[in-house]
């Protein structure tokens, strides 16, 4: 046997491997082709969202809402006769994929972007859109820094963590009369931001923050954390993490027979909490932007969403819907699909009647109206509870306003 033979045999798969690896790059390179939407044809709106990874379900809810909005616009004749097309891109909730998703959307000639979920994925994407003057309307990323560093080209239809934190602190110290406040987060960007804001505001309002720490999500047993918190004797515990942990916390708090009030942030208003905690969820209060079902203006959207997807919209679906509809409106009004024109028009929007309430943006691109309210679990469902009145001094019923 000559040594040449096995070597030759090895070479064939090697060549195939190299060719295969090369082929992988072809579809990537091909993405740029296809008609642009700057001139004629349809108008493309980019929707970056986590379509894979742990936050995939939230991303799907956002994408579905964008499609509902686009369908509506197109059925009503589109934007000056041109139809809207949603271009999706998976950001996988990661910085690296977020940057790549942004490039992919720009390649697909999107004129504006409406979406996002994880702040971590949005941070590197913002300068990428910014360099091409493509406006970015966030529907779910509530981290204050995003609009602060967005140079006026970033907007959001959702609220800001610091606003929510302030409201939570007011509610705990005012409505619930808490003197000793514990704040629990899960060490994610969102939860820590909200926790810091709430703890800071609570201190400013004269309360004592007896505990501020994180649990580790994903471990299911939070009894030790709850026992530890109970030992600091708080009146209220504000949990700023996600719904998966909230349900378990409620359940285990009951098992341990702990008496303090457990309150949550807007990532906890998911029906999973009710299923997991069962009766232990009764009376649970959360701060949140109004839920779709409590927004009278959103009824038709909810119906359309259900008809299209066979499920209820997610918590951020309404904001995505408003973002897409708003973009369609300003493009229709100005008659331009150029980024700077859209950006300028967005800054000029005054009390646009969104399904999440009237929309007006401040200089940074945040909504001027306070968004957040509190909801409470009653009869196995989250129902609107209290909100601050116009003066910001008194708590009134969130539905009746009295």
């Amino acid at each position: 046997m000559t040594p040449g033979t096995p070597r030759d045999r090895r070479r064939a798969p090697r060549a195939a491997a190299a060719a295969g690896a090369g082929l992988l790059l072809v579809p990537l390179a091909g993405c740029g082709s296809g008609g642009g939407s700057g001139g004629g044809g349809d108008i493309r709106i980019g929707v970056p969202a986590p379509l894979s990874g742990d936050s995939a379900s939230a991303g799907q809810d956002i994408l579905a809402a964008a499609k509902v909005a686009a369908d509506e616009v197109n059925k009503a004749g589109g934007v000056r006769g041109r139809s809207i097309r949603i271009v999706q891109a998976d950001d996988a909730c990661s910085a690296q994929q977020g940057a790549q998703a942004a490039q992919k959307l720009l390649n697909s000639k999107v004129v504006a972007v409406a979406g996002g979920y994880c702040s971590g994925a949005a941070v590197p994407a913002i300068p990428i859109y910014g360099r091409r003057d493509v406006p970015f309307v966030l529907d779910a990323s509530t981290n204050p820094s995003l609009t602060e560093t967005g140079k006026g080209k970033v907007f959001r239809t959702c609220g800001r963590d610091d606003n929510q934190g302030a409201l939570a602190a007011k509610f705990m110290t005012g409505q619930l009369g808490a003197r000793r406040v514990a704040v629990l987060h899960d060490n994610t960007t969102y939860a820590k931001g909200l926790a810091d804001a709430a703890a800071g505001s609570a201190k400013g309002l004269g309360a004592q923050v007896v505990y501020e720490d994180a649990l580790q999500p994903g471990q299911s047993d939070y009894s030790p954390v709850l026992t530890k918190i109970a030992s600091t004797k708080p009146d209220v515990v504000y949990f700023t993490g996600y719904f998966a942990e909230a349900g378990l916390l409620l359940r285990q708090r009951k098992q341990l027979g702990l008496k303090f009030t457990l309150m949550g942030g807007d990532a906890t208003t998911d029906s999973t909490v009710l299923k997991t905690a069962g009766a232990a969820a009764d009376g649970y209060i959360a701060t949140t932007a109004p839920l779709a079902k409590d927004l009278p203006a959103a009824a038709s959207f909810v119906a359309a969403y259900k008809a299209r997807n066979g499920a209820d919209p997610g918590p951020f679906s309404v904001y995505e819907y408003d973002a897409v509809k708003l973009l369609a409106k300003v493009m229709g009004d100005t008659g331009s699909t150029k980024g700077p024109d859209i950006t300028k028009a967005l800054h000029g929007v005054k009390d646009y009647p969104g399904i999440t309430g009237p929309i007006t943006f401040d200089q940074k691109g945040d909504r001027t109206d306070p968004l957040y309210i509190t909801v409470r679990v009653q009869k196995g469902a989250f129902t609107a509870y209290k909100k601050l009145d116009k003066t910001g001094a008194a708590w009134v019923d969130a539905r009746t306003g009295s």
């Binding site: 720490d213 471990q219 299911s220 349900g247 999973t272």
Partner: protein, 299 residues
């Protein structure tokens, strides 16, 4: 003081799960020298299998106990078959390949199981029916629920069963022989492949049972539930001395206690740093784990 006891109770509960899962890592490593990365996901599949049975049978009122037992049995059996099937399809063909190849196959299987369930469940959490919502054994300053008690007892029973199987049956003895020396075992007429499959079956069975019990106790399951607990169970298996079943069980309980006490006296967010730091420190001092490994390094 009552806090201390409460941490102890919670730590033991967590430790019971960890021990059950860690046993599978330890057994499988013993016979094929594979860190079965998919083991945590097998645990997850068990939880979903049990969920399927419970929601089909309905688990309320008088039906609760039979339904629960049926779910545990079905979940365990389903994962046992799954574990052996995966081993047959993805691991056995690689027995003669470089060791890392099998490890990567295991990582691939782990991702595939996780992603598969994610697609099927649309990445949503599922909630078990409240079948275990019983009363309290102790309801003073320290709380112990009947659910906790039942769970720990069941875990102990399963581990005792495994111990009898490994020490008292021919198959179990053959498994131990295989762990000692694969070639010698083959020369003694042991059907290595069949035995490897049997080991995967037994290890996965325990993980599956743990999965259903986990679902019953915590009520909330998801595609990603196997990752963190799998990691900690794996740590326990190494800490206890891999291949050493009593050591593995003891280390599983230890890790459970560390998880509980670290959350209580330090902070939950440093738990994994403490667990892994402990592991590295122990291995640096005792390279074969706390209780010594029971596998032989082939010369």
């Amino acid at each position: 003081m009552s806090d201390f006891v409460q941490y102890l109770v919670n730590g033991l509960t967590i430790g019971a799960f960890l021990a059950l899962i860690a046993l599978g890592y330890s057994m499988i490593y013993g016979v094929v020298r594979l860190i079965n990365f998919a083991h945590g996901d097998v645990f997850m599949i068990g939880a979903f299998a049990g969920f399927g049975v419970l929601t089909t049978l309905g688990a309320t009122g008088g039906m609760a106990l039979p339904a629960v037992l049926a779910a545990v049995a079905a979940g365990a059996l389903a994962t046992g078959v799954l574990g052996a099937g995966v081993a047959r399809a993805a691991y056995l063909p690689l027995l003669a390949s470089p060791r890392l190849a099998m490890l990567i196959a295991a990582i691939g299987v782990s991702l595939a199981l996780e992603e598969g369930v994610k697609v099927l469940t649309h990445a949503r959490f599922k909630s078990y029916p409240n079948a275990l919502d019983g009363g309290q054994v102790m309801s003073g300053a320290v709380r112990v629920t009947y659910g906790q008690l039942a769970l720990v007892l069941l875990a102990v029973a399963l581990m005792a069963g495994l111990w009898l199987f490994v020490t008292r049956t021919v198959t179990g003895t053959a498994m131990r022989a295989l762990a000692m020396d694969r070639d010698a075992a083959r020369l003694q007429g042991i059907d290595v492949e069949r035995l490897v499959l049997a080991t995967f079956f037994a290890g996965s069975l325990l993980a599956g049972a743990a999965g259903v019990m986990y679902g019953l106790y915590y009520t909330q399951i998801s595609f990603g539930m196997g990752f963190l607990i799998g990691l900690r169970a794996f740590t326990a298996a190494v800490l206890g001395g891999i291949g050493n079943l009593p050591g593995t069980m003891a280390a599983g309980v230890c890790i459970g206690l560390v998880q509980s006490f670290s959350a209580g006296y330090v902070s939950s967010r440093w738990t994994d740093v403490i667990i892994f730091g402990l592991l590295i420190a122990v291995l640096a001092l005792r390279p074969t784990g706390l209780f010594g490994e029971r596998v032989v390094e082939r010369a």
